[in-house]
């Protein structure tokens, strides 16, 4: 198994059967995967922020925003041969790390990331076939390219499928 790390504000694409796309330690960040199961092509986005500033839509920094990142990821996997109406979407993350504190209401970026992703994917008419989002615990997210499955692991826990 070849781990391909998807860092903050990055997108990684693979159709290599040995590859696993990994986003480590997602707190409020979201790991969003798009997958064409016919050609086994996967993309994963590690999104940080919910809103998309139109002024930076064409810059590399755009990818750290949920909505721009989804647009760019879709362009990239279609560019590599994915067919739009075959693409399935899964996502994980968006935790509120400060849930038990007095900050929780004003700083729930995780929840805003989730809402932004839902709104964006709904607009694009993509169905989310699996998600493990929210809560207040961090997750490592893995996408196994050959099997087309997403799995998460929390601190001290075992890996389980989304």
């Amino acid at each position: 198994m070849n781990n391909i790390v998807v860092g903050l504000g990055e997108i990684k694409i693979s159709n290599n059967s040995d590859d696993v796309l990994v986003a480590y330690g997602l707190g409020s960040c979201l790991g969003i995967a798009m997958y064409d199961p016919v050609i086994h092509l996967a993309g994963m986005l590690h999104a940080v922020l919910p809103t998309c500033d139109p002024n930076i839509a064409n810059s590399d920094a755009c990818v750290k925003y949920v909505c721009c990142g989804i647009d760019v990821m879709l362009q990239q996997i279609i560019g590599k041969g994915a067919i739009r109406n075959r693409i399935v979407v899964r996502m994980a993350g968006g935790a509120n790390m400060l849930a038990s504190s007095s900050f929780s209401d004003i700083m729930n970026i995780g929840q805003r990331n989730i809402e932004s992703a839902h709104m964006k994917l709904n607009e694009m008419k993509f169905k989310i076939t699996g998600e493990e989002v929210g809560g207040n615990i961090g997750r490592t997210v893995r996408f196994y390219v050959t099997e087309g499955r997403m799995a998460i692991r929390m601190m001290g826990g075992k890996e389980r499928d989304v």
Partner: protein, 214 residues
Amino acid sequence: MQDPYKNPQFHEQLRPLLEVMAGAGIEGAVKGLSQMTGQIITVTEPSVTLINLNEISKLLGGPENEAVGVYLRAEGQMSGQIMLIFPYERALKLVDLLIDVPDGTTQHLGSYERSALAEVGNLTGTFFLNSIASMLGLEARPTPPAVMVDMVGAILDVIIATSAGVSEQVLMIRATFLQGDREAEASFWVIPDPRVLEAFIASEYTIKDSSHKA
């Protein structure tokens, strides 16, 4: 808003000032810790560095490493965020140091141990802010701290998500607290609100307390 760390005036003017302030702030924090524990605690010369957001987790053993984060905000004229992060094993050692038991005694962070760490954050953050605010003649009000025990990446998302919209860098102050022959290294992440930094640069703040020189 533009990234204040890319402003050349930050590097020429404000950064040397911040290094002096960091020293004073950490001295203040150590006084608070010593009072809390009733022990003599000292600190090594703190280092102040600008770190890229995507480099932080490497300094803490990687984003999946287990850690403890103590987070608070400062409100008022000097607004911003402070995060103390300890790798999990070091947090256990720090608890041993704080409650004056042999190294290796604390094996688990239950509510008592987390309260002790929250108090470390509260005291160090408050004394740190008050030292700097006093030097600059400003007002700062720290909030109560939140304690997180989780993967490094998840903890850091709290500051990355609020900083990443403006700057790709944050200030890191690294210091080692010493008590007798025991030591516990801590990383202090100080994230001034970019607006506050810009105001500092624009106003060419000078240090009010003449015993500290930039």
